[in-house]
């Protein structure tokens, strides 16, 4: 029993879930955290720039992650075999700019007809029901579709929903979007709190599919190629 309790403590002790890579630091929530901590550290007399703080945090987190990986290998294997993993990461960092999944179908005139936007009632419950969208695991999968650093997460979700729509005789192109909106207090982000599209994936009736880039993103991508 003592060994089990010790294993629980060692494995549950807080640690970075994975290495902090560039993609992780680019997320608005991480950027905001970095800026707030830099401000606070300046107040305490530590005059690190954001980049310096970022480098220090990355190297500390990497050392912690690597060191812990060795230390917890045996107790983690034991607890995994028992099925009692110890990942108690619950609302650790509130997502300041959550991206919600929005599903639409393109009509013949080219206009988009929305099927649902996560967090709101379905506009076509005969296609995708509210009861399905209310399932907490569906919300969690769609959260990771937006948060994941795997670029294929959005196409995978889009293909699945396209399959559901095709089964219900929907024929137009299916458009899947990730729509970002800041949820911080209006005093910080302004009363408007506008929504902006983070990504768009389109699946055409003939099965072709592609990422749809808006003009600013097209320009950024061209610039990166040069």
């Amino acid at each position: 029993m003592l060994a089990h309790a010790l294993a629980v403590v060692v494995v549950a002790f807080p640690a970075p879930v994975k290495r902090l890579d560039d993609a992780a630091w680019q997320k608005p929530t991480m950027q905001a955290e970095l800026s707030r901590w830099t401000e606070r550290l300046h107040g305490w007399g530590l005059t690190w720039t954001q980049d310096e703080l970022r480098e220090r945090v990355t190297s500390l987190a990497t050392a912690w992650y690597e060191g812990r990986r060795v230390l917890v290998a045996v107790p983690k294997a034991y607890l995994s075999a028992l099925g009692t993993t110890q990942g108690w990461y619950m609302f650790t960092g509130a997502d300041r700019v959550p991206q919600r999944f929005v599903l639409s179908v393109q009509k013949r005139d080219g206009a988009l007809e929305r099927v649902f936007a996560l967090g709101e009632p379905s506009l076509h419950p005969e296609l995708i029901s509210d009861a399905f969208l209310a399932e907490h695991r569906v919300g969690r999968v769609l959260l990771l579709t937006a948060w994941s650093s795997r670029p294929e997460a959005l196409p995978e979700a889009c293909r699945w929903f396209t399959g559901q729509l095709r089964e219900r005789s929907t024929t137009g192109a299916v458009v899947c979007q990730l729509e970002a909106r800041a949820v911080e207090h209006p005093a910080r982000v302004g009363a408007e709190r506008p929504r902006e599209l983070a990504r768009t994936w389109v699946i055409h009736p003939d099965g072709r599919e592609a990422e749809q880039l808006d003009e600013p993103r097209k320009r950024r991508r061209k610039g990166a190629k040069r």
Binding site: M1, A134, W160, H185, P186
Partner: protein
């Protein structure tokens, strides 16, 4: 120092080897069983549940959205296909029914643990603290004699459903320890995010309750400006509760206060956020904080129920 450790260790061994009233563990068994059924039955019986099973738990080859890293057990059963997942969930539900009435409770808990774990943790994108806690609760019911009283097992053994009984204390102590580790670990994790601290005005709940993925009413918070203050207070209290929960191990007299606060906290989570069974499972472990009180309560309640049903049974026998 050696002597101090020796005394502590002896005291700990004595405490964990002790026997105590079985009612607290029986309460946890009933609550965990109800939660398990609440979790699994809708996935089997409703159209939305079956659609969720296909989307979340099945491999892309069988109607899911991505390739899943199937466990050896699921592979042995034929892969993450709808009928395999439904079979696992059905077996877990049946085991949940056995647990609920306290019939073959230990094997039932083991079957429920194996089947629910295999089905619900198939997809790493969709599993979380709730599933981990379900495994912990079922492990406690495997190692502890949770059907010593208030169960069909007790009826088979003693002739009375409510027969008072004594069980080993250590499974309960292990469960309280696990609950404490869970709270403190999650509290420590939160300290890295400014939103959980005064650095960002304790704004975590204000932001979380607008999450389109997890909040039940994401548009409600920004339209009710007066909520900013109460939610900041809620954020601070949540963090202090989690970080301070270890004190229930050291000062048992604090348990009622922490339990009351915990009930409010978890009911709040269940009402405002979509986090599955997490809140109900956590609350299922709370009876284990009060073994003596529940033992005496269970004994007196059991006696009055036995008398009442006994009388009815006797009057039923004598009726023409």
């Amino acid at each position: 120092m050696k002597r101090w450790f020796g005394r502590r260790f002896d005291g700990w061994v004595e405490r964990s080897s002790a026997l105590e009233g079985a009612t607290a563990l029986a309460c946890t068994r009933v609550l965990v069983a109800l939660t398990l059924l609440w979790l699994t039955l809708p996935l089997l019986l409703s159209e939305a549940g079956r659609q969720t099973v296909r989307y979340v738990f099945c491999d892309v080859a069988w109607g899911g959205y991505r390739e899943l890293p199937n466990s050896w057990f699921v592979q042995l059963l034929g892969g993450a296909r709808p009928e395999v997942i439904a079979g696992l969930l059905g077996t877990a539900s049946l085991a949940g029914l056995f647990l609920l009435v306290g019939l073959f409770a230990r094997p039932a808990a083991l079957v429920a643990a194996v089947c629910s774990h295999a089905a619900l943790t198939q997809n790493p994108d969709a599993t979380g603290a709730g599933d981990a806690l379900l495994a912990v609760c079922l492990l406690v019911l495997v190692v502890g004699d949770s059907s010593a009283t208030w169960s069909w097992d007790a009826r088979r053994r003693t002739g009375s459903f409510f027969a008072p009984a004594e069980v080993a204390a250590w499974p309960r102590l292990l469960a309280i320890f696990q609950l404490t580790v869970m709270y403190v670990a999650t509290g420590l994790q939160k300290l890295v995010a400014t939103a959980w601290t005064p650095l960002d005005g304790f704004s975590a709940l204000y932001q979380i309750l607008q999450s389109p993925h997890m909040a039940r009413y994401p548009d409600w918070v920004p339209t009710h400006g007066w909520l900013v203050g109460p939610l900041a207070l809620g954020t601070a209290v949540t963090l202090l509760f989690e970080l301070g929960f270890w004190s229930v191990l050291v000062w048992p007299r604090l348990r009622p206060a922490f339990a009351a606060l915990g009930v409010v906290l978890h009911l709040g989570i269940a009402l405002t956020l979509k986090v599955g069974a997490f809140s109900w499972l956590t609350l299922s472990l709370y009876p284990l904080l009060f073994p003596e009180r529940l033992a005496s309560l269970g004994e007196s309640l059991g006696e009055s129920l036995a008398q009442r049903f006994g009388k009815r049974a006797r009057s039923g026998e004598s009726a023409p």
